[in-house]
């Protein structure tokens, strides 16, 4: 009679194939939030691969033992229950437990040491960070403030963090509201932003690129749409970006944009800041250089005119529960505001 486990024996060779597939898929670039293909000194993919390989090996060994035990049992003379059946008490099985215990203890001890060493290795940056940014979690977006000893160099932006490649950046984490968590998988693990407490983390990108992050602690209605992007570029390019960000908004010249400017001051300046204009609202993101960002609404939408207009017209449709209300702009007003915003490069 054929064993019901004849198919499960195929599990064992399938496991290495699975591991290979896992490696291939998680290392691919189409997993923007996957950390196994990250870089920088805080990348812990080696530890993860180590733990994964240990886990897979343990799994294979244990399941092999199980399947062999079942196989052996299957081919014994049949016992049918309900009924009565003899009982066998063969001694010596306890040795198997001790063996398993000792082997497990060795592996676990080794992993503990590796873990503690890794914690020590990644907890502090390799050199003192030249750049410190302060991230404040809002509902549901990231306020980012670039700090400097020179007050004239300090500015605030939102949701898109630029950093220089190849050096550590210190990130000071604050939250006035609820708990959030700062996480850019390819560059650093999670650190919570906790009201009443200031946490500090750091990250470093060794390769230029764009790295996606997301809030990783349930924070309410739009936790799902609280993303961010970290853009790492070589230091000279980074400094150029910084200098551009410091420049106040230039007054618009085109007619439509000028009218949009007026509407903006009337309707939007209560919540938003545009440096160089009277708009000084502190509730929503700073829009001074909105067009320099790749995304809108905390990495929810691409920053393109159609999406921008759609967002302004009805934020509740895209992010229900977001603190930005429906603006109820008329069609022409909407286009004008969009045109004005598009001058904020």
């Amino acid at each position: 009679m054929r064993s019901p486990f004849r198919h499960s024996a195929n599990c064992v060779p399938a496991l290495p194939c699975f591991a290979a597939w896992l490696y291939a898929t998680s290392a691919r670039a189409d997993a923007p939030m996957g950390y196994l293909s990250g870089n920088g000194p805080r990348n812990v993919s080696h530890l993860t691969w180590g733990l994964l390989i240990i886990s897979i090996v343990v799994f294979v060994i244990v399941i092999a033992i199980l399947l062999i035990a079942l196989w052996r049992g299957w081919w014994q003379p049949k016992i049918t229950l309900p009924g009565t059946a003899p009982v066998y008490d063969s001694p010596g099985g306890v040795r198997a437990i001790y063996t398993g215990l000792v082997l497990s203890a060795l592996v676990l001890f080794g992993v503990t040491v590796w873990t503690v060493a890794t914690i020590a290795g990644i907890s502090s940056p390799p050199q003192k960070p030249r750049l410190t940014i302060e991230v404040t979690a809002r509902l549901w977006w990231w306020e980012v403030r670039y700090l400097s000893d020179n007050p004239a160099q300090i500015f605030t932006t939102a949701n898109e963090i630029h950093i220089p490649v190849g050096e550590p950046v210190s990130v000071v984490l604050k939250s006035p509201g609820v708990i959030h968590s700062f996480w850019v998988p390819k560059l650093t693990g999670k650190t919570d932003l906790i009201p009443g407490q200031t946490n500090v983390t750091w990250l470093q990108a060794d390769t230029p690129g764009i790295y996606r992050g997301q809030c990783a602690e349930y924070c309410g209605l739009q936790h799902a749409h609280m993303g961010m992007e970290v853009v790492a570029s070589p230091r000279p390019r980074f400094m150029d970006w910084w200098r551009e960000q410091l420049v106040p908004a230039r007054a618009p010249t085109a007619a439509a944009a000028k009218m949009g400017n007026t509407v903006f001051m009337q309707r939007c300046s209560i919540c938003h800041t545009v440096r160089g204009t009277p708009a000084g609202g502190m509730v929503g993101p700073d829009l001074t250089h909105l067009m320099s960002r790749r995304t809108l609404a905390a990495a929810t939408l691409p920053n393109r005119p159609g999406f921008l207009a759609g967002w302004i017209a009805d934020p509740q449709h895209i992010k229900p529960g977001a603190k930005m209300p429906m603006t109820k702009l008329s069609g022409p007003e909407l286009n004008q505001v969009r045109d004005y915003l598009q001058t904020l490069r």
Binding site: P4, L22, D30, A31, P32, M33, G34, Y35, L36, L47, L51, S55, F59, L66, A69, L70, R72, G73, W74, T80, L81, P82, G83, T84, A85, P86, V87, Y88, G92, G93, A96, I97, L101, S104, L108, V111, T115, V116, T118, I119, A120, S123, G177, V178, I179, S181, P185, G189, K190, T191, I194, P195, G196, Q197, V200, A216, E217, Y218, G220, A224
Partner: protein, 647 residues
């Protein structure tokens, strides 16, 4: 002369028909609705616990399936964020609190008196009370649906998200009061188990002859007694912060949000062991019978159970690795979280050795126990991975953890429960479950859990966070989510097959007889289903496996099952000493009583009154409750609680 002899030498007698008839009359419950409300029979209560817990499993399951429909594809709008957040919160709350322990409590309430060789739990009216409170606390929680205020801050309910400023409605208050009410039930049923297991074992059942399942239940009962107050306190303090302006958790005034997390997880981590250790001990109890040999390393497994519970108190910070803790704390708690795998490993090796050196019988229950080992290992390994802090910093709050928790909850709790169901259903109902339906249900459930939850490891490694009502289409999560949804439905169908099996077999299952699996414990020495008094004579025990003594050719001393203590001068049981189980006292057991039901109604009303701040109702209800309690505890001559010479 009083109607109760207050000192008596208990009589040893043979198990005869006449004795059984006498006991039947003494122990039969009241008929009708009054009997239904007032029963204190642990077997009825145990089955009620099991059925009610399975109802909560079904509710939690439906909540999950709806969420999986929403997440099958990116950017769907089947559920608004409000609804989704309520669903994931109530799903977790229902499963972890109203299903996971109560199902095990139900099996223990049913089985402990049987495997210990006694007539009922130590405190039968308390047993009834804890059931009713469990039922009403769940009803209380689900009333939140009727008023549109379902808890929505996650099952762990972090502040400040769950504070009044963030969540002003009744949502969190429903959770708080339902949780505290359930905590009362949990604590009291734990106390009942501790007293029963330590004082009511059959004579000769010294502590080293106690069944492994009793080790599991005893361990977690002590665990609950120590840890439940932490979460009850957390919710109470939260209620004060929300409604009375206190400052425990408010950082702006000197409180701290992390105090919530500490109190919650100091309970929460031990809790996850509390909801699995009894299930593991059911595997340890039943698997050997199906392998036709005693459990390998019994003492080691018992020790490992206790050690796991103890170590479980030293790992709670691993839920808080991302909160900005100092390295020394991270290192210590990571180390303990890794090392706690060792005692779990002991049980695993014991089961493997038992199957290897035994003669497995491939019944459905055996399949569930064998399949359980596979999911047990996967769940344990994903836990081992996240125990390592740097890895946890990437995997925390992602679907990797969702995979882990479902493997350990479905794997370490539901699979053993299903195996236990197929194993003990014959004892409870007198009929066998159908093996063909059983095997189909096993394979579909096994396929379902792996299809639904294995891919979640990948989702986590690819960075999908938890508790998101939708996700963007370009993250590489789409296909996996679809597979997960299909798997979830497969799992549901697998469970449905078991339900159908149960319903069919209750009517037309094959008759089981007292011992269909040729089992080793005292539960198999009595009829299926057992008579209300369980044992006509209290047996005297000579070994750990009384019904298998006849297979031991070297044995000279045998348990006495057909000759023992009659204890038929009323509803009586025997209490014995803690370590050696020598007879100590004759316990008078209470008759059916409405007090447990009434008091649980009063208690639930009290909590509703507190939640709605109806102070007059609180006072009135409190007075009613007090009167019922005093009446319940009133010293009764029939229970030999008063002096003999009372006029």
């Amino acid at each position: 002369m009083s109607d109760v002899d207050y000192f008596r030498a208990p009589v040893l007698a043979n198990d005869t028909q006449a004795l059984r008839q006498r006991l039947e009359k003494l122990w039969e419950g009241e008929p009708g609705i009054r009997g239904w409300l007032s029963t204190v029979d642990h077997k009825t209560l145990g089955i009620r616990y099991i059925v009610t817990a399975f109802i909560f499993l079904a509710l939690g399951g439906v909540e999950a399936l709806i969420m999986r429909l929403q997440l099958a594809q990116p950017n769907q709008s089947l559920l608004s964020p409000e609804r989704y957040n309520e669903l994931f919160s109530i799903h977790g709350i229902t499963m972890i609190l109203w299903y996971a322990l109560p199902i095990l409590t139900g099996f223990s309430v049913y089985l402990q008196p049987l495997i210990l060789g006694t007539r009922d739990m130590a405190m039968p009216r308390l047993n009834a009370f804890t059931y009713w409170v469990f039922l009403f606390s769940g009803a209380f929680l689900y009333t939140s649906f009727l008023v549109g205020a379902v808890p929505n801050a996650g099952w762990f309910n972090y502040v400040p998200l769950s504070s009044e400023a963030s969540d002003p409605g009744f949502n969190i208050d429903f959770y708080a009061f339902a949780n505290i009410l359930l905590g009362i039930s949990t604590t009291l049923s734990s106390i009942n188990f501790i007293v029963t297991i330590l004082t009511m074992r059959a004579p000769g059942m010294s502590i080293n002859r106690m069944p492994i399942m009793s080790w599991g239940t005893l361990t977690i009962s002590v665990g609950s007694v120590l840890s439940v107050p932490a979460v009850s306190l957390a919710f109470f303090l939260l209620w004060l912060d929300r409604r009375f302006g206190t400052h425990f958790f408010k950082p702006e005034s000197g409180g701290h949000p992390l105090l919530w997390q500490h109190l919650f997880w100091i309970w929460g981590h031990p809790w996850v062991y509390i909801i699995v250790l009894p299930a593991l001990s059911m595997v340890s109890q039943a698997l050997p019978v199906l392998c036709r040999r005693p459990l390998v390393g019994f003492s080691l497994v018992a020790l490992a159970t206790v050690l796991t519970m103890m170590l479980g108190y030293g790992v709670w910070l691993h839920h808080m690795f991302a909160t900005g803790l100092p390295n020394i704390s991270l290192g210590f708690f990571s180390a303990v979280s890794i090392v706690i795998a060792l005692p779990s490993g002991v049980a695993l090796f014991a089961w493997l050795a038992t199957i290897w050196s035994g003669r497995p019988v491939f019944t459905t229950s055996f399949l569930y126990f064998a399949g359980f080992i596979v999911v047990f290992v996967i769940g344990g390994l994903s836990g081992f991975m996240t125990a390592s802090v740097p890895t946890d910093w990437q995997l925390h709050d992602t679907y990797f953890v969702v995979a882990h928790i479902h493997y350990v909850l479905i794997g370490w709790n539901l699979f053993p429960v299903l195996g236990a169901l197929y194993f003990w259903f014959p004892k409870m109902s007198g009929r066998l479950l159908d093996e063909r339906w059983g095997k189909w249900s096993f394979w579909l459930t096994f396929l379902g859990i792996n299809l639904a939850f294995f891919p979640m490891h990948l989702l986590g490694l690819r960075g999908m966070p938890r508790r998101v009502y939708t996700y963007p289409p370009d993250m590489g999560w789409n296909t996996i989510n679809l597979i997960v949804t299909v798997g979830a439905f497969a799992l549901a169908v697998g469970l449905l097959l078991t339900l159908i099996n149960v319903v069919r077999s209750l009517r037309r299952g094959a008759l089981a007889g007292p011992n269909p699996w040729d089992g080793d414990g005292l539960d198999w020495a009595i009829p299926s289903p057992p008579p209300p008094y369980n044992f006509a004579v209290i047996p005297m025990i000579a070994s750990r496996a009384p019904l298998w003594e006849r297979y031991d050719s070297k044995r000279t001393e045998f348990s006495s099952l057909a000759y023992g203590y009659a204890l038929d001068q009323g509803k009586e049981a025997l209490s014995t000493t803690t370590l050696d189980a020598m007879p100590k006292a004759i316990v008078k057991m209470p008759e059916d009583s409405l007090a447990p039901f009434l008091l649980s109604v009063v208690l639930t009303i009290l909590f509703a009154a507190l939640m709605t701040q109806s102070w007059w109702l609180v006072i009135l209800d409190g007075l009613v409750g007090l009167s019922i309690t005093v009446g319940w505890l009133w010293p009764r001559r029939k229970l030999a609680q008063t002096t003999e010479t009372l006029p």
